[in-house]
């Protein structure tokens, strides 16, 4: 062989090797969320925790893709007999440990969650009397009384591998410490490493009962608490793929200009200006109505606009976001009407000049100051003087535990915990709820309470539609909150990455956080 031929052969071998290496290059997805990430599903509360839970664990049902309600997931089908729900499980599901997923695991997962009393356990507290395995793949939930939102609530009960968890229990701790560092689920991914403040690395497990997308990520690096400037720089360097939803609008606009795709997730979330209905002058419904009529919804809409194509908000027509039971698409959205505002103000028992309004916004979300400033400008036209306070979250959570210390107005985004309207309205407006930031309008209305109670036991879909429609009307009329806009959480996605579940409405899951199934994302470059 001549030297030229040897050179040619060597080059060919090198090229083939490199192309083979390239063909087997690991597909990595890099995304981020706010700190901290909790991987124990029994402690999961926020968006990051939800994303981790749906990728590491499975639930009996899952939010319905491209629609509302829920669809089968681990459960193939179910029967409802009053307060008894019987689920048949898939028989082809194994945990990442290799153990088969059976009804006993479902029972144990429920017991563990309730015994630990954290995370989403409050959604089931007082609802379930007992859970039993009536067969290897059949599980029965006996509720304390009929509870119509139960099926939807099950999206918040991930199933853990009983044998693995029990093997790692220490002094009856339900393996709490171990589960905050390791996963014991049947999801598409397992935890490779986890630092709750910095990053969770997940690797694809394979052999799953749902097919992954083409070019699904084999490794996911899910970071926490990245600064907007850092995210911007990382995206420009091609070192980050999907941003969190918490960046300032200017950063999204800049990323879009650089070639990123902007997508939004509706997620059944409303942006509410909660009015303190127990403090003068807002204990008078006419004053509240005056504020609601005067509110500049159009300007608010402009404030949510990232660029010509993408907005982080859409107008609301009531308390219920689109896609939930009780939402009426035919109703007109709210709009400013100063004449009606003055009319209502005239009926109010209080003189606005004697009652300055304190409007708080959460210090950690500075973009919300714009809403407060807008209120200050508008309500001064009604004669109110508005004092704006920038309140740290910890202080706000303390203030709202009593109406006397809570501000008159505070802007908060509230998401439904499940696709059922009950998970939103009951926590916000039922008079039995403890005073927290979700219920910080302290609204007390017997008719509404009765409807919300009725909605919990009524199982007929049409009847529930009617019940929550009536509830929505009461809320629109009594104005415990100003329903500013439905929040659309924005995400910037790097070129070469396809976030199918948000890009294609027919594939979108209706609940916040449930779209980020990593194996449904394609990483092609």
């Amino acid at each position: 062989m001549t030297s030229n031929a040897r050179l040619l052969a060597g080059t060919t071998i090198l090229a083939v090797s490199l192309s083979a290496m390239s063909a087997h290059a690991e597909r990595v997805l890099r995304a981020d969320e706010v700190a901290v990430g909790e991987i124990d599903p029994a402690k999961a509360t926020d968006y990051a925790d939800t994303v981790l839970a749906i990728n590491l664990y499975d639930t009996l049902v899952y939010p319905k893709q491209g629609g509302s309600g829920v669809q089968p997931h681990l459960a193939t089908d179910w029967t409802i007999d009053g307060a008894t729900y019987t689920f048949n499980l898939r028989q082809d599901v194994t945990f990442n440990s290799g153990n088969p997923l059976t009804a006993a695991d479902v029972v144990y997962s429920f017991e563990r969650m309730m015994a630990m009393g954290q995370g989403n356990s409050s959604l089931f507290a007082g609802v379930i009397d007992s859970v039993e395995a009536s067969g290897e793949y059949t599980v029965v939930f006996n509720l304390s009384s009929p509870f119509a939102p139960f099926l939807s609530t099950l999206i918040r009960m991930p199933i853990v591998d009983m044998a693995t968890v029990k093997a790692n229990e220490v002094d009856g701790d339900w393996a709490s410490t171990w589960m905050s560092q390791n996963s014991a689920g049947s999801g598409q991914y397992i935890v490779a490493s986890h630092d709750p403040q910095t990053e969770t690395v997940l690797t694809y497990e394979g052999d799953y009962f749902v097919e992954p997308a083409a070019s699904y990520p084999e490794t996911v690096r899910f970071s926490y608490g990245l600064e907007p400037s850092t995210v911007r720089a990382l995206m420009s360097r091609g070192e980050h793929d999907i941003t969190s939803q918490w960046l300032p609008p200017e950063v999204y606009a800049g990323l879009a200009k650089d070639g990123a795709t902007l997508l939004t997730e509706a997620g059944l979330t409303g942006e509410y200006f909660k009015l303190n209905t127990q403090r003068a002058p807002l204990d008078d419904v006419h004053c509240r109505r005056a504020l609601a009529y005067a509110f500049d919804y159009a300007t608010m809409g402009q404030l949510t606009q990232i660029n010509d194509e993408t907005s982080t908000g859409k107008p609301m027509s009531g308390a219920i976001p689109a896609g939930m039971v009780g939402y009426d698409a035919t109703k007109a959205v709210f709009a400013q009407d100063m004449a009606l505002a003055q009319e209502e103000l005239a009926k109010c028992a209080y003189d606005p000049s004697e009652y300055p309004l304190d409007v708080a916004f959460i210090a950690e979300t500075p973009a919300r100051e714009r809403g407060a400033l807008m209120m200050q400008a508008i309500y001064s036209q009604l004669g109110f003087s508005v004092e704006i306070s920038r309140t740290p979250w910890a202080l706000l959570t303390e203030q709202v535990t009593a109406p006397a210390t809570a501000p008159h107005v505070v802007e908060i985004a509230i998401s439904a915990a499940s696709p059922d309207t009950d998970s939103l309205l009951y926590a916000m407006y039922h008079s039995s709820q403890p005073p927290t930031w979700i219920s910080s309008s302290y609204f007390k209305n017997e008719a509404l309470d009765a409807l919300l109670d009725q909605g919990r036991v009524e199982t007929d879909a049409a009847a529930r539609e009617d019940i929550y429609g009536q509830a929505n009307d009461i809320l629109a009329s009594e104005v415990p909150d100003i329903f500013a806009y439905e929040l659309l959480s924005p995400f910037a996605v790097r070129e070469g990455v396809t976030y199918h579940n948000l890009a294609d409405p027919s594939r979108t899951y209706p609940v916040s956080g449930f779209n980020m199934r990593f194996a449904d994302i394609s990483v092609t470059e």
Partner: protein, 340 residues
């Protein structure tokens, strides 16, 4: 007084300071608004669940009893579970402290390596253009906080000219066994020189951002002290003897001027720990300062006390070291301490 006795004396007084700090922070943490149980469990938690967690955390006990229980657990090396990370606070501290210390120490080295020579250079050429240039630069570095520099450095060296990494402590592709938590040590211990270089590469931008203010301060202080020293008769005498300018600067002007700078650098160490927060956030540095702010916002009582105690201890240790260095450099201090 022997060096050992002096060391033990400083150690004892530091222990007393730490106990005082523990009491102070324990009570202050409980004054911060917000119910830690409610914050941890979220707004949908039932009253029963909140009550149960308050009992678990002993929050219903009188504050003195709570402090007694805390000290009892601390004596056993148990700082409780963090509500922020859901892990033992000790685990968090062990994981995050080395990252911050490595960053702060590297920044400290930069402070000394750049600050003192710049100050000496400025004093050596006082009144001339190098002096003016250094004074302008150091004034700029002192007047802007570390996070402004951090963002600026990211913009210049990571966004426009991507020369440095901007997140993390080491390349994602590398896995280094955790021994000390100091990656510069662990990489060498593992025989991974490529890892060592990667760790240095990741350290440069955040440490430089963190140290810039200190560099300016050290330079300005060194310059001022050296100019005062230059006016001493000893310098005039050295010049009369015909010593070179470089020798006069190094031997007769720089060394005596070092002592106040060193003391300030010791104090700056505490400032570095504080300023590290925003730098850690911007560079996604998995450190203790970032953790500290996170736990305060979450009102995670156990973690707040643990973090403040560990930062206080680090600060005290740094100051003991500086005191010893100063006494070594300045014989008058050493002699006066020996006499006392």
């Amino acid at each position: 007084m022997s060096i050992l006795n002096r060391f033990l004396g400083r150690l004892l007084s530091s222990m007393i300071v730490l106990i005082g700090v523990s009491m102070l922070i324990f009570f202050i943490a409980r004054i911060i608004p917000g119910d830690p149980a409610r914050i941890a469990l979220g707004p949908r938690a039932t009253e029963e669940q909140v009550t149960q967690m308050r009992e678990t955390l002993n929050l219903n006990e009188p504050i003195i009893v709570q402090y007694g229980l805390f000290m009892r657990d601390l004596a056993r090396g148990d700082l409780g579970i963090s509500l922020y990370s859901n892990r033992p606070v000790i685990t968090d501290l062990a994981e995050y402290l080395p990252a911050t210390l490595e960053l702060v120490l590297f920044a400290g080295v930069m402070m000394v390596a750049f600050g003192l020579p710049l100050g000496a250079l400025s004093a050596r050429y006082r009144g001339q253009w190098p002096d003016s240039l250094i004074r302008v630069i150091t004034l700029l570095t002192v007047s802007a906080p570390a996070f402004v520099w951090a963002v600026g450095l990211v913009l210049v060296f990571a966004y426009f000219t991507p020369l440095f990494p901007i997140t993390g402590r080491i390349s994602d592709a590398m896995t280094i066994p955790h021994v000390t938590g100091f990656l510069l040590i662990d990489t060498l211990a593992a025989g991974r020189f490529d890892g060592f270089l990667s760790a240095i590469h990741h350290l440069i931008l955040p440490a430089f951002a963190l140290s810039l203010s200190g560099i300016g301060q050290a330079a300005r202080l060194t310059r001022a002290n050296m100019i005062t020293t230059y006016e001493q008769p000893a310098i005039e005498m050295a010049q009369a003897y015909g010593f070179s300018e470089a020798r006069i600067a190094n031997r007769f002007a720089f060394k005596p001027s070092l002592i106040p700078s060193l003391t300030i650098i010791g104090l700056d160490f505490a400032a570095l720990l504080g300023n590290a927060f925003l730098v850690e956030v911007i560079f996604a540095w998995p450190g203790l300062s970032r953790y500290g702010v996170g736990v305060i916002l979450q009102k995670d009582l156990n973690a707040i006390v643990g973090t403040v105690l560990i930062i206080s201890a680090t600060f005290l240790i740094a100051n003991i070291i500086v005191d010893f260095l100063v006494s070594i450099l300045n014989p008058r201090i050493r002699l006066s301490e020996n006499r006392s």
